[in-house]
């Protein structure tokens, strides 16, 4: 009875803009504290259109969730919308006609003009049609430092990677692990890629991952990166955690000096009530080379038979891109908005640094956009082995790296 009443009240309150409201199941892997808060913003905005967001969170990072999503889509029982990372994860699903073409919505709302950088929309475009709505930009190239840890060790907070490496012995002496790296393979791989941009620069990164130039991958520039990775490996010894946010937590609590992690780590600092500049320091591009990548997430919409749901999918797509949602979502998530025409005055210092770099156009496309999932998985296998096995020399690792790049697609 009460439920019925609630429904009646709710429907009376809604502006009668929408005749065909529908429930839309949305799957994603945003389950950490800051992430869940951000999803709530999305859901709230979508519910306000008269439709209903049915939350289908699957915990345990994309690696756990994606297989389930893909099985559902190929099995013919798709959800209403699903998160994927920017890039090629849904490429084949779209090619085989399993996904909804959003070109009409995109043209109506002029996504081409508002979405910045343009590479985001490019990743959504397959055979000239747009298949996804980008929701945020995340960048990997950040070094998060615990001010408290350096105070304990009695050294100044480093301003770049080299100073950080130099400060490592002092940290160790104070019983602090210099660099926290979690055990999940994507974390060590990400750290390596970040080191590559910081040390060898944007061009080398492009040559290796975009052009798949095996000669560069085997060359002296990348050898320097492996040398740095070797340092990172030594500095991370003893960080016995799995999840990225457990590693972030080590930085928050001052048990570790720093962490190379994407800007999503910010959400964890915010949740722990820490202030950028006071409690922690963020160095984009490791303080060496201020370039950020355009990783992040986009929503894809499987092709549904139900006309009302299809309509709701288009509503969700335009909700995601709308300015209000972009602000609310990205502030909670700690990510950057996908459009350049909105004002993030409430952003904190680190986000502002990111926005500046973005505005200057110092961006590279993410490895998710450049490489197939298969090649990335091979790299993950390599780097998780390298970071866990001190016996593996940088030379040997580089040789395998070059082989994987040579065969990559």
């Amino acid at each position: 009875m009460r439920a019925l009443k609630a429904i009646l009240v709710a429907s009376a309150m809604l502006p009668a803009t929408y005749a065909g409201a529908a429930d839309l199941e949305v799957t994603h892997w945003w389950t950490s504290g800051g992430e869940a808060a951000a999803v709530k913003e999305l859901a709230k905005a979508f519910d306000a259109t008269g439709n209903k967001w049915i939350d289908g969170a699957i915990a345990g990072s994309g690696g756990t969730a994606r297989p389930i999503m893909i099985s559902r889509i190929t099995g013919g029982d798709p959800m209403g919308a699903t998160q994927f990372n920017h890039g090629r994860q849904a490429e084949e699903l779209a090619q085989s006609g399993l996904m909804r073409d959003l070109t009409a919505v995109a043209e109506k709302e002029k996504w081409k003009d508002i979405i910045k950088p343009a590479s985001l929309l490019d990743s959504c475009t397959i055979n000239g049609k747009i298949y996804c709505a980008p929701v945020n930009i995340h960048s990997w190239q950040w070094l998060w430092l615990s001010n408290a840890a350096f105070k304990t060790a009695g050294v100044a907070v480093p301003k770049n990677w080299n100073e950080f490496v130099a400060a490592a012995p002092a940290l160790e002496k104070a019983g602090i692990i210099p660099l926290a790296i979690g055990g999940q393979p994507w974390q060590s791989t990400g750290a390596f890629n970040v080191l590559m941009i910081a040390i060898s620069g944007k061009d080398v990164f492009q040559k290796v991952f975009a052009d798949k130039d095996a000669k560069v991958a085997a060359g002296p520039e990348i050898a320097k990166v492996f040398k740095a990775a070797d340092d990172a490996r030594r500095m991370s010894k003893g960080s016995n955690v799995q999840d990225w946010n457990q590693a972030t937590n080590m930085v928050i609590t001052g048990k570790a000096g720093g962490q190379i992690m994407g800007d999503w780590a910010q959400g964890e600092f915010a949740l722990a009530n820490q202030k950028a500049g006071v409690d922690y320091t963020c160095l984009p591009g490791l303080g060496v080379n201020e370039v950020i990548s355009t990783d992040g997430d986009a929503f894809y919409f499987p092709l549904l038979k139900d006309a009302e749901k299809s309509k709701a999918q288009e509503v969700l797509a335009s909700t995601i891109v709308s300015p209000g949602v972009q602000v609310a979502f990205n502030l909670k998530k700690g990510s950057l908005p996908i459009r350049g025409d909105i004002d993030l005055a409430a952003a904190n210092d680190c986000m502002k640094k990111g926005l500046e770099i973005l505005a200057k156009g110092n961006v590279v496309r993410s490895t998710n956009q450049l490489m197939s999932a298969d090649s990335q998985k091979q790299l993950e296998d390599l780097f998780s082995e390298f970071f866990a096995k001190p016996a593996m020399t940088p030379d040997a690792a580089q040789k395998r790296f070059a082989e994987i790049i040579a065969a990559a697609d």
Binding site: G56, A57, A59, M79, D243
Partner: protein, 314 residues
């Protein structure tokens, strides 16, 4: 499910039929109470029991501590202040994504998946085992051998073919589909057990029924079934455990609104919000394991009896 007291009386009555199957220990006889032998015997058993109990102890103790106490670091020390908050949180308010209702939402989904899956898989496997044991036909052993080899195929390998199969049948994402999947993967071991059990039953009974003119189904329903309680208990226990604990099929072959409890468990355990809340994780773990654990505690005795019947005779 039949109620337990009936099970027990039926089982007791069965002893008369199956003779030594359910009989007591048959090893060397014990002598004095405090003999050297007894000290070694019980000493070994107690040491082993401690090893098996340790994790349970850790789980229970941890689930009743607060997070500050857990950070002190001794996982074996009993809680200084007992709290049931982690249990309440795990059951009713732990979050994944937007849903903050803990394990509770998954419990009834699990039951809804469990009951029909257990019933159907056991029904199918028992009939197959019966046919293999008593009504062999040309080729039946070949199919059975394939089935046994099938027991060794990792589930992950079969996901794709099964997705395609269910899609073609048009039942992907439905409860029917999931029941079929559980039936398929429970079949090899269950059929093996039932086949062995029915083979072990006295052949004279079967022959006598044939002389009386009873057929396939009649013999199965009137003669075999009433004698098969122990093996049904074993099959039930194995299936309840397997299906209740299943995560992979539950998450791949259903939708979020009917995810089983293990999916919520995974979500709670894997969505770290800041610090890992070990106490909530442990409470969630125990809550999820409660159903099979209760089944074990209640029917453990029948389990050995049934296994004795199903596995011993080849």
């Amino acid at each position: 499910m039949a109620n337990i007291s009936t099970l027990n009386t039926t089982a007791a009555g069965l002893d008369a039929v199956s003779g030594r199957l359910g009989s007591g220990p048959s090893g060397a006889r014990p002598r004095k109470v405090l003999s050297q032998r007894n000290i070694i015997l019980y000493g070994l058993l107690i040491v082993a029991a401690l090893y098996y109990l340790l994790p349970l102890y850790v789980m229970i103790v941890t689930s009743m501590k607060g997070m500050p106490e857990i950070r002190l670091g001794n996982i074996f020390s009993p809680p200084m202040e007992i709290t049931f908050e982690p249990w309440a949180k795990a059951w009713a308010s732990a979050c994944t994504g937007l849903n903050c209702d803990g394990l509770s939402r998954g419990f009834w989904n699990s039951v809804r998946i469990l009951v029909p899956s257990v019933v159907v898989s056991i029904a199918v496997a028992s009939v197959s085992g019966y046919a293999l044991a008593n009504w062999r036909f040309k080729g039946s052993d070949v199919f059975f051998s394939i089935l046994i080899v099938g027991a060794f195929i990792p589930y992950q390998v079969m996901i794709y073919p099964i997705v395609i199969l269910l899609r073609e049948l048009g039942i992907y994402g439905t409860l029917t589909g999931l029941i079929i999947v559980h039936t398929i993967f429970g079949m090899p071991i269950l059929t093996l057990l039932f086949r062995n059990y029915f083979t072990s039953l006295p052949e004279e009974l079967f022959k006598a029924a044939r002389i009386d003119g009873a057929g396939f189904w009649q013999i199965f329903l009137r003669i075999m079934l009433p004698m098969s309680l122990p093996i049904f208990v074993v099959a039930m226990i194995l299936q309840v455990t397997g299906i209740w604990n299943d995560f992979l099929f539950g998450v791949v072959f259903t939708r979020p609104d009917s995810y089983p409890m293990t999916v919520q468990l995974n979500n709670i355990v894997n969505s770290v919000q800041g610090v890992k809340e070990y106490n909530v994780n442990m409470a969630a773990t125990l809550l999820t394991g409660a159903v099979p654990l209760i089944v074990y505690f209640v029917s453990g005795r029948l389990f050995v009896r049934g296994i004795a019947a199903g596995a011993v005779k080849g």
